[in-house]
């Protein structure tokens, strides 16, 4: 089943807020082999002017994931999860994520393209803080492999 081209422009309801925990930041930083004290050590983060540990730049995937799950579950999307491959990924920041942030992500589909029997679905998840101010936008292209 091809991906529904009418998804373009569709905006999903905001996902449930995500509270960034200090130990979660540490755990994620360790998992991506960070040795940076600003990711790991509270004194170092505070000495650098942050209120708490700073998350590594790919951390927003954890928050974005909730919105991608909404997209994949959309009944008329035509996206077969078992055929999905991650094509590209981008994070565009207004400010870094810091432990203690409460983040809310809202996804909109920006493009659906067909190429060589595959479908490419690009979405933007805009992530804001508890004051509604922009933190980061996470942009993904998912490649939905064709039948062959």
């Amino acid at each position: 089943m091809p991906v529904n081209p009418e998804l373009v422009g569709r905006q999903f309801p905001a996902a449930a807020p995500y509270l960034v925990g200090r130990e979660k930041v540490r755990e994620f930083a360790n998992a991506v082999f960070s040795q940076n004290p600003i990711n790991l050590d509270l004194d170092a983060a505070r000495a650098a002017g942050y209120s708490d540990l700073v998350a590594p730049p790919t951390f927003p995937i954890v928050v974005q994931e909730r919105t991608l799950a909404q997209l994949l579950a959309e009944p008329d999307a035509g996206i077969d999860f078992t055929r999905v491959v991650h094509g590209d990924q981008r994070f565009s920041y207004t400010r870094p994520i810091v432990a203690g942030d409460e983040l809310t992500a809202t996804l909109a589909v920006t493009s659906v393209k067909s190429l060589g029997g595959h479908n490419m679905v690009t979405s933007e998840s805009v992530i804001v803080d508890a004051d509604g101010k922009h933190v980061v936008t996470a942009i993904s292209t998912l490649v939905v492999r064709g039948d062959e």
Binding site: A31, V32, I61, E65, Q89, P96
Partner: protein
């Protein structure tokens, strides 16, 4: 940081990934797709074996550049294209090499271009990180 030129290599690091690294990343990210830890499932969908999460590769690829920058909070924009998989052998793991070079310098920010290789082939395309100077 002010006396660098476009084309300069500012950081380089090798990462030895193991199956443990993949399980750890699965746990922290919530991506429990079994192609990242089960050979039988990977093979059943036509893959040669267990693959690293693309987002793990993207995550480690930023680290050498951030070590050079000093502060992870300086990252303004980070993008990659996933072009080839990183196959992680159950015994030998996978050795991923990251080289970070200055790609562009502007008034208040600079671009660091990342070359990420596994088995002598690049695995990420257009891997670019913009940072505040």
């Amino acid at each position: 940081m002010t006396n660098v030129n476009v084309g300069d290599t500012v950081a380089q690091r090798e990462f030895q990934l193991s199956r443990d690294s993949l399980v750890r990343y699965a746990g922290t990210s919530g991506d429990f797709n079994p192609i990242h830890y089960r050979d039988d499932v990977a093979k059943s969908v036509g893959l040669p074996g267990v693959l690293a999460h693309g987002m793990l590769t993207m995550g480690i690829a930023a680290q050498p550049a951030i070590e050079w920058l000093g502060d992870p909070g300086r990252v303004l924009d980070y993008q990659v294209r996933f072009t080839r998989p990183v196959l992680v052998d159950p015994e030998r793991g996978a050795l991923v090499t990251v080289v970070a070079k200055i790609g562009a310098i502007e008034d208040e920010r600079l671009r660091i271009d990342l070359t990420v290789t596994f088995n002598d082939e690049t695995v990420l395309g257009k891997a670019q990180l913009w940072a505040r100077i």
